[in-house]
C-alpha cells in the first residue's frame, strides 16, 4: 500500500456517478428503467481517445481502484499496487477507468438503492444481474466518457470474466483483453461453495427474505460465514499453512470453543470485517453472476465456437497455487483462443498466494503486465 505522499500513487481520487435513463433489459428478463454507475478515472484521455483501459473488479471490490480519498486517506484503492504513475498500468500513459457494477453496494444502483416504483429499497426485488449485463452498462459508461474503443480491458477472477465477456459482447471495442485468475465457467465445486455462502445468508433470521433494510437489522451472521467460506477458497492451503501453521493462540488447546488456532482467529476477523461493510443482497447476486457465467453455453458447450467472435489480443495469466480457478481452467480459454487463431500469450506463474495472487505484488506478474502494457500502441 502506498502512503498518500507516494509519487507512484494517483493521489486523491474522486468517485463519480453517471446516471442512465435509458432502460436496460437484463439477461434474466427483468428491466431496469434507470440506474447509476459509480466510477473513478485516473490519468488523461488522449486526443485520439486511444489510451483508455477499463479495470473490472471482482466480488467484493469497487470502482475505487487506485489512490485514496481526501477525507479518508487510509481507504486505498484495491489495485493501487498496479495502477498509478510509473506503475505497471501507468496512468502517465493510460486513462484508467474503474467502474462499479450494478447490483453492488458501493455506489452503483443495487439492492439497497431506492426502487423508483415503491420509493423503498429494492431489497429482494432487485433483479439478478449477470456478467453480460455488467458489460452492457460499462459500454454505456464508455459511450458517456467518449471512449469508442478500449486499449485494454483488464480484470482478475470475476473481473477477468468481464474482460473476456467484453471481447464477445463488443469485439470491436476492445484491443487487448487481460484475463487473470479466471475460468470460462464455474465447476460444480465452485458453484457448491457459492451455494453454501448463499445458504448461510438466506437462513440467517435477520435476512427477512432480503427485505431487511427497513427492519433495522442486517444478516451479519450469514454474511460472516459466507465470507469465511469464500476466504478459504481464495488462499492456497500452502499459504495458509505458512501464515498460520497450527499455532495456538493460548499456547495450549483450550478444550472449549473459544479460538484455539490462529487460522480461526483470522477467519473470524475477516468475516467480521466483511460483514460490517458488505451488503448481503449484493453478495447473493454476485455469486449468482459467477455461477451463470458460461459463454460456451449458447454454443453447445463449445468454448472454441463461443470465442470465435472475439477479436482482441489476449494475455491470460494463472497462478499455480490457485485452486479456486486452477491453471487448467485458464488453459481451456487459451486452447479455445488458439483454435480461433487469436493473438494470445499465457503466463502460468508459480506464485504462492492462491486465487488472491492476482491482487498481490509479484515481480514476475507485475513485470509481465508492465511489459505488456508498454507494448500497447496508442
Amino acid at each position: 500500500m502506498n502512503a498518500p505522499h507516494d509519487p507512484a500513487s494517483v493521489g486523491a481520487a474522486t468517485a463519480q456517478k453517471a446516471h442512465f435513463d435509458q432502460p436496460i433489459k437484463l439477461r434474466g428478463g427483468a428491466e431496469l428503467q434507470s440506474y447509476d454507475i459509480a466510477y473513478e478515472t485516473y490519468g488523461q484521455l488522449n486526443a485520439a481517445r486511444s489510451n483508455a483501459v477499463l479495470v473490472c473488479h471482482a466480488l467484493n471490490a469497487s470502482h475505487h481502484v487506485a489512490g485514496y480519498y481526501e477525507d479518508d486517506k487510509s481507504n486505498v484503492g484495491w489495485w493501487d499496487n498496479l495502477v498509478g504513475p510509473g506503475k505497471p498500468l501507468d496512468t502517465n500513459r493510460f486513462f484508467v477507468v474503474g467502474s462499479n457494477y450494478i447490483g453492488s453496494c458501493f455506489g452503483s444502483t443495487g439492492p439497497a438503492s431506492t426502487n423508483p416504483a415503491t420509493g423503498k429499497p429494492w431489497g429482494a426485488d432487485f433483479p439478478v444481474v449477470t456478467v453480460e449485463d455488467w458489460v452492457e452498462t460499462q459500454a454505456r459508461l464508455a459511450d458517456r466518457l467518449g471512449i469508442e474503443r478500449f486499449a485494454a480491458v483488464i480484470g482478475g477472477s470475476l473481473g477477468a470474466m468481464q474482460a473476456l465477456q467484453w471481447t464477445l459482447s463488443y469485439p470491436e471495442r476492445v484491443r487487448h483483453s487481460i484475463v487473470i485468475a479466471a475460468a470460462p465457467k464455474l465447476t460444480p465445486q465452485n458453484i457448491a461453495f457459492n451455494e453454501v455462502a448463499r445458504q448461510a445468508i438466506m437462513t440467517d433470521p435477520d435476512f427477512h427474505g432480503g427485505h431487511y433494510y427497513g427492519k433495522g437489522v442486517v444478516p451479519t451472521r450469514g454474511l460472516r460465514i459466507a465470507r469465511m467460506i469464500g476466504h478459504i477458497t481464495y488462499i492456497s492451503g500452502e499459504a495458509m499453512a505458512e501464515k498460520f501453521g497450527r499455532v495456538l493462540r493460548r499456547g495450549q488447546p483450550g478444550f472449549d470453543f473459544d479460538i484455539d488456532f490462529e487460522v480461526e482467529s483470522y477467519l473470524r476477523y475477516q468475516g467480521d470485517k466483511f460483514s460490517s461493510y458488505f451488503d448481503a443482497n449484493t453478495y447473493l447476486r454476485i455469486t449468482k453472476a459467477l455461477d451463470y457465467f458460461d459463454p460456451a453455453a449458447d454454443f453447445g458447450g463449445d468454448l472454441t465456437k463461443a470465442l470465435a467472435r472475439a477479436k482482441a489480443a489476449f494475455l491470460v495469466v494463472s497462478f499455480k497455487s490457485d485452486w479456486r480457478f486452477t491453471p487448467a481452467r485458464s488453459r481451456e480459454m487459451v486452447r479455445a483462443l488458439l483454435d480461433n487463431r487469436r493473438i494470445v500469450s499465457y503466463l502460468e506463474l508459480d506464485a504462492p498466494g492462491g486465487h488472491d495472487a492476482f491482487l498481490l505484488e509479484d515481480a514476475r506478474y507485475h513485470g509481465a503486465l508492465r511489459s505488456y502494457f508498454a507494448n500497447i500502441d496508442l
Binding site: 494470445v344 499465457y346 502460468e348 509481465a368 511489459s371 507494448n375
Partner: protein
C-alpha cells in the same frame, strides 16, 4: 542469432504459421515475423524467458513441453520448431510425435554429440564442454544427448521422414563426414 536459427529462417516459408518450442526470449520468432512475415507462438517454461518474450512483443505460452502439446489442435501449424531444445527433453519420442501432430512440418536442431571434439574429450576421460555444449556436467539442462546417426535412427524408427539436413560447425556448413566434423545439426522433417 545462433547459426541454426539462420538456417531455420531460410527454411520457414513466407507467411507461415509457426510454433517455436522452447523459444527462450522469442528472438527467432521476432526475426521470423520481420523477415518471413511468419506469425505464431513460442512455448517456454522458464519465467525469465517468458517475461522477455512479453517484453519483445512475442506471443508466448508458458507450458511444460514434457506434458505435450495438448493446447494445439492437429495440423494447426505450418511449421513447428524445436531449436536446440531436443536435448533438454525427457520424453523425446513423445514430443517428436506431438510436434508432427500439430505441425505439417518440423524443424529440429541439436548439438551433435558425435563431433570429434566431444569424442576427444570423452576419450580423455572428461564430459565434453564446447561452444555448442557450453555446460559443465553438473549444471547442464541437457538430459538426452545424441549424435547425428542416433537422431536419424530414431526418425527411421518413428517413421519420421527427413526432408532436409544441414550440418554446421562454427556457423559454416559441413558436408564431409558430418557426424565427425559437424557440431550442430538442423533437420526439416515431416510425418511419413
Amino acid at each position: 542469432m545462433r547459426p541454426d536459427q539462420q538456417a531455420i529462417l531460410q527454411w520457414v516459408p513466407k507467411g507461415a504459421r509457426v510454433l517455436d518450442l522452447g523459444c527462450a526470449d522469442g528472438a527467432l520468432l521476432r526475426s521470423l515475423g520481420q523477415e518471413r512475415e511468419a506469425h505464431g507462438y513460442g512455448v517456454e517454461i522458464d519465467d525469465a524467458s517468458v517475461l522477455e518474450c512479453v517484453a519483445n512483443d512475442v506471443n508466448v505460452l508458458q507450458v511444460d513441453l514434457e506434458s505435450g502439446l495438448s493446447l494445439f489442435a492437429d495440423g494447426s501449424f505450418d511449421c513447428v520448431i524445436l531449436s536446440e531444445t531436443l536435448q533438454t527433453i525427457h520424453r523425446t519420442e513423445f514430443l517428436l510425435r506431438e510436434m508432427l501432430r500439430v505441425g505439417r512440418e518440423g524443424i529440429v536442431s541439436f548439438p551433435n554429440f558425435g563431433h570429434w571434439n566431444a569424442r576427444l574429450q570423452i576419450a580423455l576421460g572428461r564430459m565434453p564442454v564446447s561452444d555448442t555444449l557450453p555446460y559443465e556436467w553438473y549444471e547442464t539442462p541437457n538430459v538426452h544427448h545424441c549424435t547425428i546417426t542416433d537422431f536419424e535412427d530414431l526418425c527411421r524408427r518413428l517413421g519420421i521422414r527427413i526432408r532436409e539436413r544441414l550440418v554446421l560447425h562454427a556457423g559454416k556448413p559441413v558436408t564431409l563426414m558430418p557426424n565427425l566434423l559437424g557440431s550442430l545439426a538442423v533437420y526439416r522433417c515431416t510425418a511419413g
